[in-house]
């Protein structure tokens, strides 16, 4: 890593940093932070020296927090799963980095589309009509999204 080579004296901030620029960057710390976050949210193996049980507890806590946020963004979906929401969410998203509440819920809704009740399916259909989501990057408004949505409502069978 070229950045690592620049900072062999890791405890000494560079003049650039004293001028209020980028953060001091001891390479060991930067690499350790990256490895830790990758292990916590992206399915990488635990970095050396950490208590594995504590990292497991942290992973679970992060998934619970994401599940709570996704439930607020996807109320019909969360209501459908009820008591199973947190465990269903965790089972699907463990090892997958957070995409934000909208995407996290969207990914889950798509993956479990076949199981959804009418309300949860309608919630998904509404988002699909309004936004274009490639499953990888932030959803973007669709052209004619409102028209698609109206058409979908007109053609959806009444319950």
């Amino acid at each position: 890593m070229s950045r690592a080579a620049e900072h062999t004296e890791s405890a000494v901030p560079s003049p650039r940093n004293n001028a209020g620029g980028a953060a001091a960057e001891p390479p060991a710390l930067a690499e350790r932070q990256a490895a830790l976050v990758a292990a916590l949210v992206a399915g990488a193996s635990d970095p050396a020296g950490f208590d594995p049980a504590r990292l497991t507890a942290t992973r679970r806590a992060l998934l619970r927090k994401r599940a709570g946020a996704a439930a607020r963004a996807w109320p019909a979906l969360a209501t459908f799963f009820g008591d199973r929401w947190a465990s269903t969410f965790a089972a699907h998203h463990a090892g997958r980095p957070p995409g934000g509440a909208l995407r996290d819920g969207w990914d889950l809704a798509r993956a479990l589309r076949a199981e959804l009740t009418a309300d949860a399916a309608a919630e998904l259909a509404e988002r699909e009509a309004l936004l274009r989501y490639d499953g990888k990057t932030a959803p973007r408004p669709r052209r004619l999204g409102r028209a698609r949505l109206a058409l979908g409502r007109l053609t959806r069978p009444t319950r």
């Binding site: 405890a11 001891p26 990256a34």
Partner: protein, 305 residues
């Protein structure tokens, strides 16, 4: 409204060491009394809650050009509102996101805030975002990173900055300093104020097998009382469903449970040592009815008296 430039000058002119008297003379007193976190879900309760002297709002949740009506109402009533950042990643080795620094500065300006606060934590690294506050190792290298990022933040934020130590479920194997030592070194180095969360002190002590009172006392021995800008109190619980983990169940600082008696007792101990320190309740979900929140705030006020 209090002028923010005046506030900053008054604060900076004051000594940063010494012991606090009964009314905290010389303290960086920028908020006062008992407060609470403003959240949209409990805006009605916050607006009507008796005895609230200040509020805090999550900086990332507001648009400075148009803060929520409830927050504007509080400001019009003269209540200080402190922008509380949660995503700046001051402990991260990645360069600070200029937009996030500018946002925090804009929040302070829009709310004419007497100070802002952020965490001693990092939230992203190596292209991944944890979406959560993660602990930094208590090392000199991490102090360098934090000091540089605090200095960078202060180039744009015109009011004092208070730093909050987080509750963490794990420690780094690299740790060289205890938490009180690390905190004292960081405050010395940066000149920042302390936002002391007694629930976090409690959580960390329990999960590290330490005596929370001893940890708190050590912090107060090393850090002058007037450096404490204000205090957080929040609820939490032991997750018994984690008993399967080696080491057993942990205490989680959830902000969605009632404040445990143990945390209230620790708060009382803190206030005995730092009389008059401003204290606020943080609640972030599973909101109980208004009367339950009011009772909890009254309990905190009583514990802090």
């Amino acid at each position: 409204m209090r002028g923010k430039s005046g506030q900053g000058n008054v604060f900076r002119a004051r000594p940063v060491a010494g012991s606090a008297g009964p009314l905290r003379p010389g303290a960086a007193l920028v908020v006062d009394g008992v407060g609470t976190g403003w959240r949209a879900e409990i805006a009605g309760w916050v607006a009507a809650a008796p005895g609230v002297g200040f509020c805090e709002v999550i900086a990332e949740s507001i648009v400075p050009a148009g803060p929520p009506r409830g927050v504007v109402d509080l400001r019009e009533r003269g209540l200080p509102v402190v922008p509380h950042g949660v995503r700046l990643s001051l402990g991260g080795t990645d360069p600070l996101d200029a937009c996030r620094v500018a946002h925090l500065a804009a929040c302070a300006e829009a709310l004419d805030a007497p100070l802002v606060s952020e965490h001693i934590a990092f939230v992203r690294a190596g292209g991944w975002d944890a979406g959560h506050l993660l602990p930094v190792p208590r090392t000199r290298a991490a102090l360098d990173v934090l000091a540089a990022n605090v200095a960078r933040t202060r180039t744009e934020v015109a009011v004092p900055l208070a730093l909050e130590p987080i509750a963490a479920l794990f420690d780094w194997p690299e740790d060289e300093l205890t938490e009180p030592e690390f905190l004292a070194a960081l405050l010395d180095r940066t000149g920042a104020l302390l936002l002391l969360d007694v629930a976090n002190v409690y959580a960390n002590a329990v999960n590290r097998g330490q005596d929370a009172y001893a940890v708190l006392d050590r912090m107060l021995d090393l850090i002058a009382a007037e450096r404490i800008a204000y205090v957080h109190v929040a609820g939490g619980s032991v997750r018994h469903d984690e008993a399967d983990l080696p080491g057993g169940a942990l205490y989680h600082d959830t902000h969605t449970d009632p404040v445990p008696c143990e945390v209230l007792r620790l708060l009382t101990h803190l206030v005995e040592r730092v009389p008059g320190v401003p204290v606020m309740l943080e609640r972030d979900g599973r909101y109980p009815p208004a009367d339950v929140l009011s009772a909890e705030l009254a309990t905190i006020a009583a514990a802090a008296r």
